[in-house]
Amino acid sequence: MATPEAIGWVGVPLAVIAGAIRVSTPFLFVSLGECLTERSGRINLGLEGTLVMGAMSGYGVAWLSGSLWLGVLAAGVVGSLFGLLHGVLCSLPKVNDIALGIALMMLGTGLAFFLGKPLIQPAVENLPSINFGWWSDIPQVQEALKINPLFIVGIILAPAMMWAFRNTRWGLIVRMVGDSADAARAMGYNANTVRVLATVAGGFLAGIGGSFLSLYYPGSWNEGLSSGQGITAVALVIFARWNPLYCLYASLLFGGAGALGPALQAVGVTQGYYLFNAAPYILTLIIMVASSSSRRRLAGAPAELSVTR
């Protein structure tokens, strides 16, 4: 049997792939949620706060009720409440969605730290994973292929959402509202109502992404749980050109980048640990610089979105 030492440096790409699967789930859920919200013409930067709130409430409910999946659901519900707050307040005249997002980021983090104080001690069992690595003798491969059901939900959700945007009545309404509120009004739809619903749904997904952090990986609640995954995921949507399927690929890429630091540390490269941990942010920034332009609008951008002015 191969021991962990025996595979040595081969472990790095393997750990990156494992990380891509394990770490990407919160990115995936937040970015799909944000994709839906942004397609309706609003940007919710508060998803960072929603993610932390989801992590805290998912953990708390799982601890109190003893049911892990109830915790996941609770995280989604709390997330959608935050989405509702953002959506309704942004529907008021003169309220700016970007600024409100920053405010909700602060409120969500503060509330989660306040309410989550008693949750740092208790240990909650983690969500079960499905073992797809039974065929391999190498423990790292088995470890890499232990896949969480939420990840599978996510990879089904991404193409489903893309299909829904293209082919369903609701998808068309969301896209129409995102491209022209005037057109929507002419067709008899209230742009604000659609946007509130899209933000609520986006918040639900981001909340579930948060529950993954506390209930699966890293798998406990503490105040350093999310350090910018939420905002990275928001940036990722721009990079993914508001296409849910690209959100999936981008999430995998970011998950892999996030796993690079710990993976290198495991094989003894301790130099630059913090810099490798910052890899997802550096990657996001480089991608944003490479894919933006000051002269034209971004391809695929919803025309009503303030972020692409």
């Binding site: 920053i102 602060m106 409120l107 910018g228 910052a278 942010y281 944003m288 933006s292 972020v307």
Partner: protein, 365 residues
């Protein structure tokens, strides 16, 4: 001129009244929140007042915390005059502190004069913070990258770079359980204002706020910058150097936050370490929005927010509330404040009489 410009957007009564309503409403909401948490809200507010402004000691603590907030708030407020939302003050502060130490330590080693060392440190911190935020401005102007997201990402990167430097190349081997750079030593520290226990950073912050207010509202440079904020296309049409203005204003904002980092290092910590990430950057964002992005209004708001932060410790000790209590109050305040934007132009304030009264005066002078 200025009063007339403000009249057009809604009247001075409104400009004071709406934030007051917002603060009152958030105070009520927060009271409800702590009541739900099982604590008497009146007791909380009494303690907060005591911990923030009640005694000479707490007032000094408040001013000490307001000093960096004055500077980090400018990092958001100045670019906001050009229509940009920059939220990277935390990173600019960290960069400023780190580079200030890097520039100061060799001078300390050579035994350079104290004032010269402090000056070099301040300039290094301001340049580092300034370049850092100007990068977000440059990316926005020349590449169309959203400056809000870019500045926040840069902020995370800056914190990672600081941790890396403090754990690696710049680490003082003597700092065991909390990795830090070498200390600049007591002699080189910035002292306190005579008669107070508050360091000179407060004065730096006040000067910075007044000077940038003059710059933005009483010079042609500031006027040009605010035209860019109003309508970038118009600014280009009339031949304003938009790129230069963007760079200059973002640099100034970043320099303010970088100076805050230098002050934290040279007046409080004595060295650079993870304590630089103390939430002054995020607090500054709230201060800037509460001050409606006006550098002069930043001063009272920073004192208010500094007071809230200063009272956190007392709340923790006396009422056993978590340290995040202050964050919750800040979050509620921020959300309610933004929601209160809708009140502008909708309040039945006695605008006519007061407006006509004020409208006469600038014409006379």
């Amino acid at each position: 001129m200025r009063i007339v410009a403000k009249m057009a957007t809604g009247g001075p009564v409104e400009v004071l009244l709406v934030p007051l309503i917002a603060i009152l409403a958030s105070a009520l909401l927060f009271a409800g929140f702590v009541a739900l948490a099982g604590v008497n809200p009146l007791e909380v507010y009494a303690l907060m007042y005591k911990g923030a402004f009640g005694t000479w000691f707490s007032l000094q603590n408040t001013l000490q915390r307001a000093a960096p907030l004055l500077l980090t708030a400018l990092c958001t407020a100045l670019p906001a005059q050009m229509g940009m939302v920059i939220i990277g003050a935390e990173g600019a502060l960290v960069m400023g502190g780190l580079v200030a130490v890097a520039a100061g330590l060799p001078l300390v080693g050579m035994g350079a004069p104290v004032f010269l060392t402090q000056l070099v440190m301040a300039l290094a911190g301001m340049i580092a913070g300034g370049l850092f935020v100007a990068l977000a401005g440059a990316l926005r102007h020349w590449r169309g990258v959203n400056e809000t997201i870019a500045s926040l990402l840069l902020s995370y990167i800056a914190i990672a770079v600081m941790n890396q430097m403090v754990e690696g190349p710049m680490r003082d081997p003597a700092s065991l359980n909390k990795p830090s750079t070498g200390a600049i030593g007591d002699v080189y520290m910035i002292g306190t204002i005579p008669g107070m226990d508050v360091h000179w950073g407060l004065v730096f912050g006040l000067i910075f706020c007044v000077l940038t207010w003059l710059l933005m509202f009483h010079t042609s440079f500031g006027f040009a910058a605010r035209i860019v904020g109003g309508n970038a296309r118009t600014a280009k049409l009339v031949g304003l150097p938009v790129g230069f203005l963007v760079l200059a204003v973002t640099f100034l904002g970043g320099a303010a936050a970088g100076l805050a980092g230098m002050v934290e290092v040279a007046a409080v910590q004595g060295r650079a370490n993870a304590s630089l990430v103390a939430g002054y950057g995020t607090g500054g964002i709230l201060v800037a929005f509460l001050a409606r992005q006006n550098p002069i209004a930043v001063i009272p708001v920073a004192v208010l927010l500094g007071g809230i932060a200063a009272s956190g410790g007392l709340l923790q000790r006396r009422l056993d509330l978590p340290d995040a209590t202050v964050l919750v109050l800040q979050g509620i305040l921020f959300v309610v404040l933004l929601a209160s934007e809708m009140l502008y132009g909708r309040l039945a304030v006695p605008r006519l009489s007061l407006a006509s009264f004020l409208r006469l005066r600038p014409q006379r002078s």
